[in-house]
């Protein structure tokens, strides 16, 4: 069975073949790994992977699985959730500036048609008592400004849309 997860914008394909005493797991095109489930609780799994045991804590909601392994933290998005997350993808692709968290728009420095430099501060969002400057990821032109100063903004809502120059 094949599963697809998105981690930090990258998609990974994980294939599981049940074997007699274990699972054979293949990630993308790498070497298959032998995985035995030592124990499985709702929020933790002990896995024996190629002879090494790992305890993984995990939880999930509709979009994501959240995992902690030996001090490392991972958020894995199920691929089907991808379309709902256009905003973030847009941010990554460099043509939209989104608020990374819910907050309120304190300041907007640009308006439609302005040309902006890479790294130029476009807007300031306040969340959890901190001001956060959102900068332009590209050299470009402001296509659209979706918020005014003082308005509330949700996570990943595009505030400023840009066009590359």
């Amino acid at each position: 069975m094949e599963h697809r997860f998105i981690h930090s914008g990258e998609t990974y394909k994980v294939t599981i073949e049940p074997k007699e005493n274990s699972h054979e797991v293949t990630i993308d095109d790498k070497q298959p790994l032998q995985v035995e489930v030592v124990s499985a609780f709702t929020n933790s799994l002990s896995l024996l992977i190629n002879g090494k045991i790992k305890t993984v804590y995990l939880a999930e909601d509709k979009q994501k699985k959240y995992l902690s392994i030996d001090g490392n933290y991972f958020e894995l998005e199920l691929e089907k959730g991808r379309t709902a997350k256009r905003g973030r993808v847009g941010l990554k692709e460099g043509n939209v500036v989104c608020s990374p968290m819910p907050g309120s728009v304190v300041k907007i420095f640009v308006s439609e048609g302005n040309e902006v430099k890479e790294g130029q501060v476009l807007t300031i969002v306040e969340a959890m008592k901190m001001e956060n400057e959102l900068k332009s990821p590209i050299k470009g032109k402001v296509k659209k400004v979706n918020f005014s100063e003082g308005e509330q903004v949700d996570a990943l809502q595009p505030i400023v849309e840009l066009e590359a120059l």
């Binding site: 699972h23 995990l58 999930e60 008592k129």
Partner: protein, 508 residues
């Protein structure tokens, strides 16, 4: 209890989160009844659940709830409390609020309003210090006016310079400015942040000292002129001008310097007529010169490390002093044993420039064991609101020496499981393992110097992907309701040979 004094019987805690929980815990030990207050979004917060009474005081924005002085006083009267404990942040250092409490006949568990007004106004405070020959960093003697004034002073003391809010602390409103081009925007941003955080937009400018250590001294002063210090804390590890790791003792002090700084701290406190618990902050430069920064007129976030090393319960002392008790602790009774380190757990995304990152905590599992203390304001299932400071909890360890404390906090951080929101835990682990940290080479530029290009270790991503896929595939049938379930598949049960050898688990 001294004779003639009347111990506080009931207190309103004008705060939320871990510090409200911390204060309530001590109240339970002192048989002081507690009233928690909460904004509508904090109805299910931990502090509202553990207090004896809880009262809703308004809408989520702090100005409509936790900063609403008149409503807080009114609530205090309605609930019949003797005292208000302000925690840290919010109104903790607001002398107007302390005054309102005093006028209403309610004990403000903190400094008297006069001293609070003095030390809270950093510019006024500097003037007083200068008069008493306390060493200061060069800079403005008063609140900056127009931008020209800022530009001139910056030129005089030389870039880089620092813009700081006259009121408040915690790095809010603070901006480091490298050249004149950046100055105007930094002053404006500092003013906005200061306004929003403290209700006052005054900022000033001073010389920025590079590679200094942040050393602070905890002090206690009663209402009878007795002042003691409870040794230092080093808080050099900061990001966004906010402390993230603190420790005591500092590796930079020897007994002589420790004594000198402690005595200076006491002098500063006496000079200002300060009462109750407070902290005197210094910068220590490479040549072991120290400069007075400010008095933090509140219980500090990092107070637990002092408690673990000296055995003094600082919140308890706050209540005793506020009740009118004389200090029974003598300077010569206070000594340091072992070493303590605190790591602050924030809701923030280390990779995205430490941006606050609220959300729902799907799973919380806090570390346990010898030398481990967790001061926490969160629980599994709780949703971290966006409106307030993103601090979630603090992990504090004690060890017989610094080496042990470092090992201990590393292990404890690895066993601190918070799922659903991003926290700096992986980053904190890498800090305490960093050779420069282990060596005690800790300056306030530690993060930019050593952690600038930090990326989370992705070695275990494959393990995460495997676990995610197996979790999807072996989705357990729901027995009972949301309880932990154990299912060992047939094959697994069969496969467990008695000589199954399990490999390295914790050392990758």
């Amino acid at each position: 209890m001294g004779e003639g004094t009347k111990m506080i019987k009931k207190v309103l805690i004008a705060n939320r989160g871990e510090i409200a929980v911390r204060v309530i815990r001590t109240c339970k030990e002192l048989d002081i009844k507690t009233v928690a207050v909460y904004s509508t979004i904090d109805k299910e917060s931990l502090h509202t659940q553990i207090a004896d009474e809880s009262v809703c005081i308004g809408n989520p924005p702090a100005v409509e709830s936790y900063l609403n002085m008149d409503l807080l006083i009114e609530t205090a009267k309605k609930t019949g409390v003797d005292a208000i404990h302000p925690g840290y942040g919010f109104l903790a250092e607001n002398s107007q609020f302390a005054k309102k409490c005093e006028s209403a006949g309610i004990i403000f568990v903190g400094p008297n309003s006069k001293a609070l007004a003095l030390v809270g106004d950093k510019v006024e405070c500097r003037k007083t210090m200068q008069k008493h020959n306390i060493p200061l960093i060069p800079g403005m003697q008063s609140i900056g006016g127009n931008i020209k004034e800022f530009k001139e002073m910056a030129k005089k003391v030389g870039y880089p310079v620092l813009i700081k809010a006259a009121l408040g602390g915690g790095g809010k409103g603070m901006r480091i400015v490298k050249n004149e081009k950046e100055l105007e925007r930094a002053v404006a941003a500092g003013r906005r942040e200061a306004k929003s955080a403290f209700g006052n937009e005054s900022v000033y400018l001073e010389k920025y000292i590079e590679k200094p250590r942040h050393i602070e001294f905890q002090v206690l002063a009663d209402n009878f002129g007795n002042v003691i210090h409870i040794f230092e804390r080093e808080c050099s590890i900061q990001r966004r001008y906010q402390k993230i790791i603190e420790e005591t003792p500092s590796t930079a002090l020897n007994d002589k310097l420790r004594k000198k700084m402690g005595e200076t701290a006491k002098k500063i406190i006496k000079t200002t007529g300060y009462t109750n618990a407070g902290t005197v902050e210094f910068l220590l430069d490479k040549n072991k010169n120290f400069y007075f920064l400010e008095v933090n007129a509140r219980i500090q976030v990092e107070h637990p490390i002092t408690e673990l090393v000296t055995g003094v319960d600082l919140v308890k002392q706050q209540f005793l002093i506020a009740s009118g008790e004389k200090l029974t602790l003598k300077q010569e009774d206070i000594f340091q044993r072992g070493h303590s380190i605190e790591a602050r757990i924030y809701a923030e995304d280390t990779e995205s420039d430490f941006l606050p990152c609220p959300g729902k905590i799907h799973l919380l599992k806090e570390p346990q064991g010898p030398g481990i203390r967790v001061d926490s304001g969160i629980y599994s299932g709780w949703e971290v609101p966006t409106h307030y400071d993103p601090i979630l909890s603090k992990l504090i360890v004690w060890g017989e020496n610094r080496e042990v404390a470092i090992k201990r906090i590393e292990q404890a951080l690895k066993n601190y499981i918070i799922l659903g929101i991003k926290t700096p835990i992986p980053f904190l682990i890498d800090i305490v393992r960093h050779p420069q940290f282990v060596k005690g080479e800790t300056y306030t530029n530690f993060i930019s110097q050593n952690m600038e290009d930090w990326k989370p270790n992705r070695e275990l991503l494959d393990t995460a992907l495997i676990a995610g896929a197996i979790h999807l595939q072996t989705r357990l049938p729901s027995v009972g309701q949301g309880m932990p379930q154990r299912v060992i598949s047939q094959e697994v049960a069969k496969s467990s040979s008695p000589w199954l050898e399990l490999g390295d688990w914790s050392n990758t």
